[in-house]
């Protein structure tokens, strides 16, 4: 049935109530398209920012491990005990600088007996 000129345009009224604007000329239509595109970009930005904030919040508010790491502690305890035993070495005597040893060899008393001096036939380390 053809639309009568005097009757109200129902489609236009519904579209208008839904928020659609009717561009009456090409330039207005272009402006509308640009505005919609900008709106979508802004919406996408808000969405992405929300995601980023969510991830950041999750990462920071995630509960820390509720217990000490048992596996490393198991190994660390044993090696710690062995190291503690090894600390006995800290208290063992250490000789001062051994310089002058050769001079001492040279000063070996002549009455020392038949053995040769260490510099001669001694077994070196």
């Amino acid at each position: 049935m053809p639309h009568e000129a005097g009757a109200p345009d129902v489609t236009e009224a519904v579209m208008s109530r839904l928020g659609y604007a009717r561009a009456s000329d090409p330039s207005a239509a272009r402006r509308l398209r640009v505005r919609r595109r900008a709106l979508r970009v802004a919406q996408a930005g808000v969405l992405l920012a929300g995601c980023a904030l969510g991830v950041a919040w999750w990462a920071s508010s995630r509960p820390a491990p509720a217990q000490p790491p048992v596996a490393d502690a198991l190994r660390g305890s044993v090696s710690g005990g062995v190291e503690l035993l090894g600390s006995l070495r800290l208290g063992m005597p250490r000789a001062k600088d051994a310089s002058g040893v050769q001079a001492a060899d040279a000063a070996t008393p002549a009455s020392a007996g038949p053995a040769t001096s260490p510099a001669g036939g001694a077994r070196p380390f």
Binding site: V70, A71, L90, A104, D105, G121, F125
Partner: protein, 495 residues
Amino acid sequence: MRSALVAVACVTASAAALPPGDAGFGGLSVAPPDAQLVVRVRDGRSLRKDPVLVPLEGALAELAWSRTLQEGWGRLADSLGTAPDALLDRLLGSDAVFVERASGEWAILTRIDPALHAELIDRLKPAAAAGGQAVLEAQRATVAWRPPWLAIGPTGRTGLMSACVALLERPDVDGSMLALPAASTLAAQSPAPVEVAWRQADGGQVGGFGARLRPNGLTIAVRGAAGQWPFRVASGWPADGTLASALARGSILATSGSPWRGTPDPACPVDAILAEGGMDDAMWANIGSRMALVVGERTLPESGIRIPTLGVAFEVRDARLAERQWDGWGARLTARVASRAGVAPPASRPRPGRGEVREVDLSPMLVAAFSDHPFARGTDLFMQSISGAGASWQLLATDLETCSRMAGALRAAGGAQAIAVADEVGELGGTMLARHVASWQPAASAFAPSSPEQFARGVALAARLAESVDRVRWRIRAGAGGTIEGEVDVDLGAP
């Protein structure tokens, strides 16, 4: 649902899973050749409850149990709804292999009940990872389930664990520690409840021991490549067990064996002392095939600190020549120590008569050379030539009491009649060692001025370990192909 997926992912790779072998030192078969240490404990839950080990329990707990581990283990047990002890038995109490690299990277392979694995997945909710592995985030551990073996490694350092799992899935003797020199000696042993193997420093060979329980103690079988002291033994005249026992009375440690004629090792106290005086070929030629060693103690009167004493006895072929040779050695040693201390050597004394005790007052020089270390106080040199045990002997000791005690034991010995089938036998008194070491604790700053607390803690732990042992006796033989074999009997104290 996620747990089920993880479980499925873990089990998928399990089709060809094989145990690391039930033979002796089978743990080596799941360790890559670059591993440094392998420890296997079979039926740990029975070992833990065995009354024989009760005396060692406290000391071992002190050695290996930390507050962090206690807290972590307790919370893990809570997470699984079980008691800490029960978790220990279920997780590590059946058959567990610990492998470690020199870098500190480690892995554990433990045989567990599939029900426990299901509980681990269900309660701890691990995240699935590549290669059939799963990550336990709270425990910072990565696990791989190859029924019935659960592999555990530290998250982020799972290279060793993956290598062990690969050997578990595809056994490869040539690609494992079993291919290393001397490993076959270990592998030929019968299985022991506790087996420990390690890479020896020299030559990439493997040494190890297996420990078994016996009434009131342990028997430990040691095998390995002969290397540097103390992993060496001189083969010669069979060792005299009776002499070692006689020398052990009143001593911390006593051994009987043959003198070491190979390359001296500076880490060996006897080698170091002999080298300090200079040993020439004539002296070595005059040394016989037997020697004995004693570690005793004396007490510093001013502080009550117990100081170790050392005594060495060499069998000699020509006693008169030996006395002159060792007089010369003593003179050279004195001159060298004086040089080290930066002081003048003491004036030479008239040579004592044959068989008399020679005394060299080394203490002032040692105190200067070793920065007034307690061990240097009152440490002198005593030498004597004696006859005993069917031969002539040259004695060296750092105090007169040790020298006299050795002379008495050798004179009373029966001439190597009670020989052992070993190249070296020895005995150590745990109670005496514990008392000896514990005396250092109050004077820790005199021993380790820069870190007295750490030294004192180490001393306390060593004393605690020693006091749980009554006596240790060992027999060592030189084996074929440059190996050594030994048995160590550890008598444990009453609980």
